[in-house]
Amino acid sequence: MRRLLAALSAATLLAGCGWGGADAATGPGGNGTIEYWLWDSGQQPGYQKCADAFAAQNPGLKVHISQYGWDVYWSKLTAGFIADTAPDVFTDHLAKFAQFVDLKVLRPLDELGPTSDVQDGDYQQGLAELWKGKDGHRYGTPKDWDTIAIFYNKAALTAAGVDPAQLGNLSWNPRDGGTFEKLVAHLTIDDKGVRGDQPGFDKNHVKQYGLGSDGSGGGGWGQTQWSAFTGSAGWSVTDKNPWGTHFNLDQPAFQTTLSWYFGLVRKGFMPSYEQIGGANPIGPDKEIQSGIAAMGLSGSWMISTFTKLTDAAGKKLDIGIAPTPIGPTGKRASMFNGLADSITTLSKQPENAAKWVKFLSGAQCQDIIGHSGVVFPARPEGTQLAVAYNRDQRKLDVTPFTDQVKEKTTFLFPVTTNAADITALMNPRMDAVYIGSAPVSSLTTLNDQLNKLFEVAQ
């Protein structure tokens, strides 16, 4: 019995060690192979083309790309920093990079030869500056940018007798929701076929929601949920951006907007937390595809996903794009976010890595990405190529995304320190508001907790 127990406990110990230690073989070395990570599988083919072009121009160097889904990506990266299996270069997100700077795992790019002369002015306005740390060093070179718009199912609009052109002039307000809410109500249908704006509508048995849901928005400042509304109400997350010194979640503009937004769930116009699958939610793309929603807010990085949607019979859905509605400020608003490439301090070949980063942020690679039409490259010329690709190849007008930049109605993704703590504190509280188990006013307490994070230097 004792030997059996010993064997058993040895086995459990071994089993317990399996976590995180797996990919030691992919660790970086100075052998000329640059390890590069990204999370979006849709972008991998484009970047593979960049990698091939890079290898052709730099004899002796090649790039090995690994792709992991969003959640796994960050935990693998964390594990990689600890176990020394992190890549040389990785796709970085604004929500994460400040923490990595604090953890001293990112290399200042201005101190490496190839990336020392990166120019802010080569990219869409404001993008490059976002990637400078509080210390003034550059920690990422812009690769792409994104804004928010409404994706809609043309068939659902036709069935409701709505002209898609109407969607270009919608407005909303926190009192009655304006023409935007009127449309959302009209596009909502219960299981008896009664529309949301007709008498006898049963909000508890809805077949098609007017507006899809992408969750509570606790993880990314409501980027694809409520940020277009809070933004067009004139509200900002922090007092200044980047590197704010206090949060504004206690302000009436924020709380009345969220009260209205999540009120759409209570009215039966938007699916609830339970209906989209709780902690493992389906997004607006799947909701539109399965007919649960007629339209939904999402980001420009989802364009190719939306245009590939098919119905149950395998027939392509006819998807259109409309701008976010005009808010109480008299303007539209969209969050303006961008990804960048960063070099880890664990890289054994930082100069080679910097060559690759320089190439990724250069015109040639960004033109390749623009031609693939998956995202908008950070360089304006690359952006034009992506717009043209969508117009010519997909017959899709993507100007609702680009107009926000042209008309300067964007606001930048909030860059703060302590990002991981913010997410951990915000997620459950925002979920509670979405579920309806806590009032919007509970976010004032959350705001105090977030502000306390500034006092405790991490």
């Binding site: 937390y273 709780g278 902690a279 649960i292």
Partner: protein
């Protein structure tokens, strides 16, 4: 075994993000723990999970074990009860996540076909802990039954024969012979399963990630998120030490209460 434990205890008195050297902070982490409502909620949620999980699992396992003992001698039939245990925790959780999905899950299709309202098993705060507890009962009950079955084999067949001669029914024999003589084995089984149950993690990580809100944020998941999500290894270590102390106390109390060291078979 000893070094990681000691190091964990040391780190619980520090501020440590794993990538830069730890800083000694004395009892700060423990003070924070006592004042942290999420920690206390996690403890409450964990205990709730353990109670549901262990109560159902032990009862069902006992019934299965007795049936294996009294009704069949076929090895393959006895072997079948162990099959869920061969499925890994993560896979079992994923399969149930799909079965119980609100929109697409076959479980909810059956429920709505029966004319009832769909149930958000894994995204409704009232259902989530019982659901996770029962998923793990499904996976572990065969193994627990096998442990109890091994215990049943130690009860001499002659006792049942004697009882049968006296005209005792199956139910009476179960209550008067099986249960009392099984006590030491049951005590061991309970200690093993309760300790295991307290450490529930993977099912939560796969199905709910602690949600909705905090209603399935069990202690192990909170510790994991604190360490690997928020880089607060010092505080995570302090909570791990607390969990260790809790498990030692519970094991000791169980041991004494069930008199696990003595047998009635004398």
């Amino acid at each position: 075994m000893v070094w990681p434990t000691l190091r964990g205890i040391y780190l619980s008195f520090t501020k440590f993000n794993l990538l830069t050297p730890p800083k000694w902070t004395g009892l700060d982490n423990y003070v924070r723990m006592v004042q942290d409502p999420v920690f206390w909620n996690a403890l409450k949620v964990t205990v709730y999970y353990v109670v549901v999980n262990i109560a159902v699992q032990t009862a069902v396992a006992l019934v299965i074990a007795v049936m294996m003992q009294r009704l069949t001698k076929r090895t393959w039939l006895r072997g079948i009860v162990l099959t869920p245990y061969l499925v890994s925790n993560v896979v079992a959780a994923l399969v149930f996540l799909w079965i119980l999905d609100y929109q697409l899950g076959i479980g909810n299709h059956v429920i709505s076909w029966l004319g009832l309202d769909r149930i958000a098993f894994l995204s409704d705060s009232t259902w989530v802990i019982p659901t996770i507890a029962l998923i793990n009962v499904w996976r572990h009950v065969g193994y627990t039954a096998l442990l109890i079955f091994a215990g049943l084999q130690t009860i001499p067949e002659t006792m049942y024969e004697a009882a049968r001669v006296d005209g005792a029914s199956e139910i009476t024999m179960f209550r008067r012979i099986t249960v009392p003589l099984l006590r030491p084995i049951m005590a061991l089984v309970l200690i093993i399963t309760v300790v295991g149950s307290f450490q529930v993690f993977d099912t939560v990580a796969v199905t709910t990630r602690g949600g909705p809100v905090d209603s399935s944020r069990v202690l192990q998941y909170y510790i994991y998120d604190m360490a690997f999500g928020r880089f607060q290894f010092g505080y995570a270590s302090a909570m791990s030490v607390a969990l260790l102390v809790i498990l030692v106390v519970i094991t000791f109390v169980q041991y004494r209460l069930t008199r696990a060291e003595s047998s009635d078979l004398a």
